[in-house]
C-alpha cells in the first residue's frame, strides 16, 4: 500500500510543482492520475522513484521512502515506466529487459520467469529480443518500457503516460496490458491525458491541476463528473 501525505516538490524559486498532495494506492488497486501537461504528474512520479527531492511523507508498506535512493526504492518493489520511455537505445531489447531485473539479479529463475511473462504479455517483444531497442517502433518501444519495469517484479507499477504518441489502436492494446498486469495482483498508478481510456481500466482516480489534487473519486464517479468531462473527455 502506498500512502502519500502532504507531498511537495519545488524546482528552484519558482512556484511549487507539487503542493500538499495526498494520494493512496491500496493493495490490488489501479489508480489513475489525470491532469493536463504541467499539472505535476511527472514530478509526482519522479519524487516517488527518488529521482528528485520532495517534502512531506511517502510511505510504502509501512516504510518511509521519501529520502531513499532510486535503487533502494526499486528494490522495495516500486518500478517506474517513465515518460519518454528512457530505454537504452543501442542495447538489445533482451538486455534492456534483463537490466530491468537488475535489483533481483541474484534470483536467476525469477528473472527468466519474468522475461517469459513479459514475452507472453507482449508477443511482439519476443520477436524483437535481439534488435537494438532504439530500432523499434514507438509502440513496440512502449511495450519494452513497460516490460522493463515489470522485470523488476514490482508490487507497485508507476506508468507515466504510456499511451503518449501512440496510434489509437495501440493505446487500447497498451491499456489492456496494464489492466491485465493489475488483475494479476500488481498495484498500478497510471498517469494519463487520455482520461476516458484510463478511467475505463482504473478503480479510482485523482485529478491534478497546478500541482494540487483538485478532485478524487471512484472511476465511475469521475467519468460522470462534469469537470472531468469538460476538461479531459471533451464531451
Amino acid at each position: 500500500m502506498l500512502e502519500i501525505k502532504n507531498l511537495g516538490v519545488r524546482y528552484g524559486a519558482a512556484s511549487p510543482a507539487l503542493e500538499g498532495v495526498d494520494l493512496t494506492v491500496r493493495p490490488g488497486e489501479c489508480v489513475t492520475l489525470l491532469g493536463a501537461n504541467g499539472s505535476g504528474k511527472t514530478s509526482l512520479f519522479c519524487a516517488l522513484s527518488g529521482l528528485i527531492p520532495s517534502t512531506g511523507q511517502i510511505r510504502f508498506e509501512e516504510r518511509e521512502i521519501g529520502r531513499m535512493r532510486p535503487a533502494a526504492i526499486v528494490a522495495l518493489g516500486i518500478a517506474q515506466c517513465p515518460e519518454g520511455r528512457q530505454l537504452f537505445p543501442d542495447l538489445s531489447v533482451e538486455k534492456n529487459l534483463r537490466l530491468g531485473a537488475y535489483v533481483g539479479r541474484r534470483d536467476r529463475r525469477g528473472t527468466e520467469a519474468a522475461l517469459e511473462r513479459v514475452c507472453t504479455l507482449f508477443p511482439d517483444v519476443r520477436d524483437k529480443l535481439r534488435s537494438p531497442a532504439g530500432a523499434l517502433s514507438g509502440g513496440q518501444q512502449q511495450m519494452v518500457a513497460i516490460g522493463r519495469a515489470l522485470m523488476a517484479r514490482p508490487k507497485l507499477l508507476l506508468l507515466d503516460e504510456p499511451s503518449l504518441g501512440l496510434a489509437p489502436k495501440l493505446v487500447e492494446a497498451t491499456l489492456d496490458a496494464v489492466a491485465e498486469i493489475n488483475r494479476a495482483g500488481t498495484m498500478v498508478l497510471l498517469a494519463e491525458q487520455n482520461a476516458y481510456a484510463a478511467l475505463s481500466i482504473a478503480h479510482r482516480g485523482y485529478v491534478l491541476a497546478n500541482g494540487r489534487v483538485v478532485l478524487e473519486g471512484s472511476a465511475s464517479a469521475l467519468q460522470q463528473n462534469e469537470l472531468v468531462k469538460k476538461a479531459f473527455i471533451g464531451a
Binding site: P70, D90, R148
Partner: protein, 286 residues
C-alpha cells in the same frame, strides 16, 4: 617485404599500447562525458608503482603489474569521488579545468616524489626472439599478447555480463539506469577504476621498452585523445581501431617516407580520415 613485416610488428606493439590507454579514455568519456586530461598521468603513476614494485619491493614483474592495476584502480575511484562527482551537474568547462588541474597535481607530485630523471624499468623478458627473419624482444611480444587478452576480457565483461551492461546502460541513459535500480554513481566509480587500471597495465607493459619519467603521460594523452576523436568520441571499438591506425601510420610512415616526419604523417592520416568522416569512425547516434 621483410622491412614491411618488421614495421607491422612494431606498429602492433605501439598500437597495443595506444589501444589500452585510449580504451580507458573512451570508456570514461562515453559513460560520463568527462574528457579526462589526467589519464596520461594515471598511466605515468601506474608505471612508477610497477617500477617500485619490481625494484624496491622485488615482487616480480607480473605481481608488480597487478599491484599497479589495483593501486591505480583505487586512485581512479578516489578521483571520481573527490573531483568529478561534485562537478556532475556543473558546466563542462569546469570538468575540463578540474581534469587539467589533476594532471598538473600528479605531474608535480611525481616530480617531487620520484625526481625528474628518466629511469630504466628492468624486465626479465629482454631476450631477443628470431622467427621467419624477424627480430623482436620477448617484451614486445608480451605487449601484443597481453593487450589482446585485456581487450578480449574487457569486451567479454561489457557485452556478456550484467555488471558490464550497467556501464553501457548508464552511458546510454543515466536516468533510465537509475530507474531500473542501477546506482549511476557506483557505475561511474567502476568505470574510473577500469580506466585507470588499464592505463596502469599499459604503462607496465611498455615501460620496459621505453623509459619512465614524470612527463611520460603528455605524449600518450595527446595521442589517446587523437585516437578517440578518430574512433568516434566514447566508442570502445573505435578506440581500438583508431589506436592501431595511428600506430601503423607512425611506423610505416616513419619507415617508408621519413622518420623525421613520423608524427606529422600519422596526424596527417588522422586529419584525412576526419575530413571524410568528421564524427569519427564509430560515431554514436546523434
Amino acid at each position: 617485404m621483410h622491412l614491411f613485416f618488421q614495421e607491422l610488428l612494431n606498429g602492433l606493439v605501439v598500437g597495443s599500447l595506444y589501444a589500452l590507454v585510449a580504451l580507458g579514455l573512451a570508456l570514461v568519456y562515453g559513460t560520463m562525458q568527462i574528457p579526462n586530461f589526467a589519464h596520461g598521468h594515471l598511466y605515468m603513476l601506474g608505471a612508477y608503482v610497477a617500477f617500485f614494485g619490481v625494484t624496491v619491493a622485488h615482487v616480480g614483474y607480473w605481481p608488480a603489474m597487478l599491484l599497479a592495476i589495483v593501486v591505480l584502480a583505487l586512485v581512479g575511484v578516489v578521483l571520481e569521488r573527490l573531483v568529478f562527482r561534485p562537478l556532475r551537474n556543473a558546466p563542462e568547462v569546469n570538468t575540463i579545468i578540474a581534469a587539467v588541474g589533476v594532471l598538473f597535481f600528479l605531474q608535480t607530485l611525481a616530480q617531487v616524489w620520484f625526481g625528474g630523471d628518466y629511469r630504466v624499468f628492468p624486465t626479465p623478458y629482454d631476450k631477443v626472439v628470431h622467427f621467419a627473419g624477424l627480430v623482436a624482444t620477448q617484451q614486445q611480444l608480451i605487449v601484443i599478447a597481453a593487450a589482446a587478452v585485456l581487450m578480449v576480457a574487457l569486451f567479454w565483461f561489457l557485452k556478456r555480463t550484467l555488471t558490464g551492461a550497467t556501464i553501457e546502460a548508464v552511458a546510454q541513459n543515466r536516468a533510465g539506469a537509475a530507474l531500473v535500480g542501477i546506482d549511476p554513481n557506483r557505475v561511474s566509480m567502476m568505470v574510473f577504476a577500469i580506466s585507470a587500471g588499464l592505463a596502469a597495465a599499459a604503462a607496465t607493459l611498455i615501460a620496459s621498452i621505453s623509459l619512465i619519467s614524470p612527463s611520460m603521460g603528455f605524449t600518450v594523452i595527446l595521442k589517446a585523445f587523437a585516437i578517440i576523436v578518430l574512433g568516434g568520441m566514447g566508442s570502445v571499438p573505435g578506440a581500438i581501431i583508431g589506436a592501431y591506425i595511428l600506430a601503423f601510420a607512425e611506423s610505416f610512415g616513419g619507415t617508408y617516407i621519413s622518420s623525421n616526419y613520423q608524427d606529422a604523417i600519422a596526424f596527417g592520416v588522422l586529419v584525412l580520415i576526419l575530413t571524410f568522416k568528421p564524427t569519427g569512425l564509430f560515431a554514436k547516434g546523434t
